[in-house]
Symmetry: C2
Subunit: 366 residues, 2 copies
């Protein structure tokens, strides 16, 4: 089936571009002599996680336990949950999951670590812990230095866990305007992670992995002294936010939304059948000046505003021939968010739909 | 089970407040002597649609065909799809659905109407059409006056359809700052709808229904001269946007998100296990000055910012006793958007979970 025959709104993934993105970031990690552990929150799809592992990834990163379970079911056997696990029912699921894959959990507090320790002891196992450090983003993570030493001291007596790594997420790299700023964040993040690893080694922990890197800074992996692993996610598809961050070109974006024009209420206005329930309101308007999306092949159309089910396009005179029923392919502002709104990825090559992959970890917020 | 024992993040619906909201808006319609046809995009749940019909609603409104199918499966037999149906596969589903419920479809163009006409003729049936008029919002809808007359002339010869109503959505009522402005929009919307109905009657169409009203203007139904039906949606739960619009008080909001504190990285910062994948980025920050949510019982906490899976709260000194594992109940900015992110509503009365209702029409964007 040609992609334009698909019912809309739906997600299209260009297989050629997808594979090129997977290989490009694997090469960045290979050249830096470190491992790649992609964050699967972008695609939420075991088929793509397997492609990443086949290309050389050491395993995957997830945010939520429910995502980890889906990846384990999908054949991924090395998983880092980059998120604190809190609450009895989640601890029970964590223990079950740790029985069937190589599992590591992030943690930034004694409260979280001691509860995992207790659950692991009860199950007669040892669970791998990585300490999350805050490299200046101000989200989660213990502060490096004295706070980290205090936490290490508190964790030292805990049984049932072993602290084998540190991880960081420099989310402020998304605010950087130039590659010089991104490089500087990459270098600083690496220095913080590396010295934190040394702090923990000094406390007797067997630190093997120093894990960092969002998509915008992962490009500079070779500058990240002491980092042994990067965890980018969005590179796999790309989107307008990543184009802005310099991570890839618009032509390299592998994911788009196919939408249909459902109304032409005015010469300069067209309305499509996708709004916030497809595109979401995540992220900023495009730096390309095309609003909340980029219509492939029609760069002068402005994706002006969304309601839940309506997308309002503003048309320049040259685009006013657009008709009800016409289909448009639109690159979104934030691809991870779009993937979370729908149930399937249509995998396309040479404009033909080859396969439909269920987004098996969609909505797994628990 | 007590609601605080629920695994998080999850949605809680207070049954007492839900029923009160359903009855309050039914009373508004009853007092104005018109019918209520709630938009189910807010709850996406047949159980709640049935409560609305039991309270007196004439039927329901949906945006998408997929939502209509779920509502029909759930026992609702009078459905308006307030959205243009475009494309062959959707037309086939439309015809199937029209065989089993009383179905009406909105339309603002000859292109959409003629395709429906053709599909209906082929199936040997007649499909009800309501013409969507633009009351000044600038989304979809034909302009009243000459444009409407031209459209009416074009539709007149079409067989397989019968034009029995007009509908409007005055989305700009959300920008109104005072009840005086909202009343003025209600009166204007009604005048446009009513004169458009007369235009269509003058062209020989048997117009029975004049349908208008978002939640902010529906309160003023008694001022909406000539309108025979209102279609509010969000009133059923309420949210911070509706509180801002004066539609209900914060204490009347029936829906909240239960979230758990997963990190306390700084004295004035707590991080919860819900971000944009639960709360979305729809809508504006709260007018109550509480950011992107309102923590019930803790009005001084600021729901400061979200990533996909993290919600960052800024705590005043009086709230810094908050601990990892504590659960918070948070009223969102836009309840319809939140309902689209998760799979279940936990129905609670007197803090006890009574039932779990699947959000059966979640994600039905086709």
């Amino acid at each position: 089936m040609n992609k334009y025959e698909l019912d809309t709104p739906c997600i299209i993934v260009d297989r050629t571009k997808l594979l090129a993105n997977i290989n490009r970031y694997q090469a960045i990690a290979d050249e830096a002599g470190i491992t790649l552990r992609p964050h699967v929150k972008t695609h939420k799809t075991p088929q793509i996680a397997r492609l990443q592992v086949e290309a050389g990834a050491v395993g995957v990163t997830v945010a939520k336990l429910g995502e980890a379970e889906v990846m384990a079911d999908g054949g991924i056997n090395n998983i880092v949950i980059a998120y604190p696990i809190v609450g009895q029912s989640k601890l029970e699921r964590l223990v079950q999951l740790a029985k069937r894959v190589k599992l590591t959990v992030a943690c930034d507090s004694y409260e979280v670590a001691s509860a995992i320790s207790e659950a692991a002891l009860k199950a007669g196992m040892v669970i791998n812990i990585w300490i999350e450090i805050d490299p200046g983003y101000g989200r989660v993570g213990v502060q490096p230095g004295e706070s980290l030493e205090r936490l290490a001291g508190a964790l030292a007596p805990l049984q049932g866990i072993v602290v084998t790594g540190v991880l960081e997420f420099a989310g402020h790299s998304y605010d950087a305007q130039t590659d010089e700023e991104r490089k500087s964040i990459a270098v600083h993040e690496a220095a913080v992670a590396s010295s934190s690893a040394d702090t923990l080694r000094g406390c007797g922990f067997p630190i093997e992995t120093v894990s960092g890197g969002s998509t915008p800074v992962s490009r500079f992996a070779s500058l990240m002294q002491g980092v042994t692993e990067i965890r980018p996610g969005t590179y796999v598809f790309g989107d307008l936010t990543q184009v802005q961050a310099g991570a890839l070109e618009i032509e390299q974006c592998a994911l788009s939304v196919l939408a249909t024009v459902i109304s032409r209420p005015a010469p300069d206005r067209a309305v499509i059948d996708g709004g916030t329930k497809v595109f979401t309101m995540d992220g900023e308007d495009s730096v390309l000046g095309t609003g909340r999306g980029y219509v492939i092949g029609h760069p002068e159309i402005n994706v002006s505003w969304f309601n839940e089910e309506h997308g309002v396009l503003v048309l320049p005179p040259s685009e006013q021939g657009l008709k009800v029923g016409d289909k448009l392919e639109i690159i979104p502002v934030h691809c991870c968010a779009v993937v979370n709104m729908l149930d399937e990825l249509n995998i396309v090559q040479d404009d033909l739909v080859q396969e439909i992959w269920p987004i098996a970890a969609r909505g797994k917020v628990k």
